[in-house]
Symmetry: C2
Subunit: 463 residues, 2 copies
């Protein structure tokens, strides 16, 4: 495959002429930029460029197109499926220099940011104005990276994923053309939905340089409820009934017993070591009080042992910090080994079965593997902690992962609820979507990137 | 252009062999199937086929592909931008025979329907189970047609458009390949988002034959508030403040003075002849009571003269019937002439200016032209009632329409909030999206429909 591509040497002089010191071939930088938080082997790019504007990105992509050099966008490196790996060499575009919040329109509840803006940077900026942006993956990802992977998070059950949050994108296509995919209207039916085509395309169709986002006013009232359960199934059934009764949670998260133990150790807590559910509601004070009371009744009916709710802001922050640190807590269960983080999503009616079968399967394997997730969406994560130097463990983990994905697909679910395909899940795409759908994706890819230079080897399985 | 396409005669014998009596070349059927509710000249297809399954659609599309015969899907014929016109002849596929509700999954809040299912048919079916589907364009459109145009409606401000409502599609692509674009998981990041690429593509990329939809439970409580205002600007400002305060309406509709007069006459009402706002809230009883009270305060602060609210189901239905009949009421203002129905959508902060300037412009023209719309989204409609035989009126209407679109684009808005491009708005697409975006759309179209047989002449402007 690599023979299709041109040498980095063909573009480096011009890249240096354009960016000066803002391009490097340092081994450390290359290694860092070819590594994400996933379990796939890193693959370093041949050089790393640090553009500061859409125009610079466009010029770099044009150079790479002319020389057939792969282009790999890099945000914060927090992806899980190997999205940043330079599988065919090429030039990494580190977009952290595109870090300006260009506009916030308070009265329209939207904003425009550059792709390198971090999630927490935006949160802080908006909070001072009484606004918030809803999508919150655990990591402090960039907004551009979140758009490129179609990210979601704990609030997706209430506010949606990046697919609902993004109004439009500025994208540099192969060849260097700059496209604006959407305007500032809250809805439009003007032509093909290039915004959603690019969301989740993981850099394989273009480089996202600007993102227009829907925002929300910070709600008048918020409350969090939490409960521990004797059995995992009780926690899952509580979540399902909260959804099916239409109580309207904006967060609905499960931590299984293994994860609670990990979080206690990592975050210095003393939660009872049993499966927990956390649920949050936003709205007017009366509404939130009604919702949280109803959720408490559902939990009690399913055997909750210590339902507590709070509207105190500090207490709410403390509880959600546990959730946002969960991945790092899980990793700390077995430091110095690799964590394979994966996620699947199934219809709500199959969630209890899917989690129960998965827990039993993992327990049988003996591999430490917390389960946690966005159960209101039917989405859950497994962190498998294994020693990649140990061939037995590695094989066990791969087999357990395969069984997990097949289990989810067999239940009408998806091989990836929110982490994307990267190259870690390429082999499941045709099984899930069918050969005809993959062929249509391949045709779209060939149309927009005829040379195949945009993040090659990702999303679209080889023919 | 027509020279690119093959003759219908090349496929008719095989279509007849496949469908028997379910294909016709009757002039009446052809005329009917080339006509929608828009103002563009009708264009009759050469023949109309009535398939009953995805497999039959696939076989028909395969025949047409082999003979380079245009394929034009037809749902209920309720589009406004000429989407059903057979501009280059060809075979119309009337999908009304794909009318089965294939599955309703109560506990997952989703369903699977064939493309020809009508909106009200689904509503009735779901209502018996305590569920509802949220997207409600005025017309009794088919679900497939609504997916193909990316439709929205009065509840979009609360529940979203078809883009938020559709989980996945079954689509027959050019060549006859059948693609399933999504599964039943509430979210997925498995590959390119073909679902959203097809939504709003208006039959130009494929024929939608099945649609999986998100559903909602019928809310515990609902209430509607309505008020008349002395001035249009007061009504618009009330709508904007309801949105900006985050009160969470699920419907927020404006009828201007001209529309109120039309609706009084058509629906036998006696609303005071002044601009009106209708707003609806869904939720738990306490929440709805808080929301509707807050909306009443906002309306009063903007000079509402007769704020009333009700949670009575019959009264609510009566009010929304006015809104759903509004288009027919507007047409009845000047029977026997044509109505040009158009819509634009702008950022909320520009909505008051956009409506005020439009009202003044229309009044100056002397053409009867009610304004109404989904103002919570920044989206409004104008129905221009003109005599197409009168060259002066026709020219006036076209010029007023051009000015309306330019005004919306100048305010950062879109030339079409929900009606689509069809061929009525082709000439505005490049001005709104830019040449590079249109070129990308054209590349996608060429990739999925290399012969250009899928609903030719729509959405993508000629080069």
């Amino acid at each position: 495959m690599t023979g299709r591509y041109g040498s980095i040497e063909a573009v480096l002089p011009e890249v240096r002429a354009l960016l000066g010191e803002r391009v490097t071939t340092s081994p450390d930088e290359r290694r860092h930029h070819g590594t994400d938080e996933g379990w796939q082997d890193p693959a370093a790019p041949e050089a790393v460029a640090f553009p500061h504007s859409t125009e610079e990105v466009a010029r770099l992509v044009r150079l790479c197109t002319e020389a057939r050099v792969p282009v790999i966008p890099f945000g914060a490196g927090t992806s899980f499926e190997g999205g940043v790996g330079a599988l065919h060499g090429g030039l990494c575009l580190d977009l952290s220099g595109l870090s300006r919040i260009l506009a916030v329109h308070d009265s329209d509840l939207d904003c425009l940011v550059e792709a390198g803006v971090r999630r927490t940077q935006l949160e802080e900026h908006l909070g001072r104005r009484g606004l918030f942006f809803s999508v919150d993956p655990g990591a402090d990802a960039t907004i551009g990276g979140m758009a490129a992977t179609g990210a979601s998070g704990t609030t997706t059950v209430g506010y949606g994923t990046m697919r609902e949050a993004v109004l439009g994108l500025t994208v540099v296509l192969a060849g260097g053309e700059v496209v604006h995919t959407g305007g500032r209207a809250r809805k439009s039916s003007a032509g093909y939905d290039l915004t959603h085509l690019l969301l989740g395309s993981e850099g394989t169709l273009g480089v996202i340089t600007e993102v227009a986002l829907r925002l929300h006013g910070i709600p008048e009232a918020s409350a969090v409820g939490r409960a521990g359960f004797a059995a995992l199934a009780q926690a899952v059934q509580t979540a399902i009934e909260i959804m099916q009764r239409g109580l309207g949670p904006v967060r609905l998260e499960l931590l299984d017993e293994v994860q609670v133990a990990a979080s206690n150790a990592y975050s210095g807590l003393d939660l009872p070591r049993r499966p927990h559910l956390l649920v949050e509601f936003h709205g007017t004070p009366g509404a939130v009080a009604e919702q949280v009371a109803a959720a408490g009744e559902v939990a009690a009916a399913h055997g909750a042992q210590d339902w507590r709710s709070t509207s105190d802001a500090a207490e709410r922050r403390r509880l959600w910090k546990i959730r946002h640190e969960a991945y790092y807590a899980a990793r700390a269960l077995r430091p110095a080994v690799r964590g394979m983080v994966t996620d699947v999503c199934v219809p709500l009616s199959r969630l209890a079965d899917c989690i129960a079968e998965t827990r039993a399967d993992l327990d049988a394997s003996g591999i430490p593997a917390p389960i946690l997730g966005h159960v209101g969406d039917g989405n859950f994560h497994v962190v498998l902690l294994f020693d990649p130097e140990d061939p037995v463990e590695s094989a066990q983990v791969r087999a357990a992962h395969d069984r997990l994905v097949q289990r989810a697909l067999g239940m009408g679910g998806t091989c990836t609820g929110e982490h994307g395909v990267g190259h870690g899940k390429l082999r499941y795409l045709a099984a899930e979507r069918g050969a005809a759908a993959v062929a249509a994706m391949r045709a779209v890819k060939a149309a927009l990137d005829p040379q195949g230079i945009m993040n090659p080897g990702k999303v679209i399985p080889p023919e």
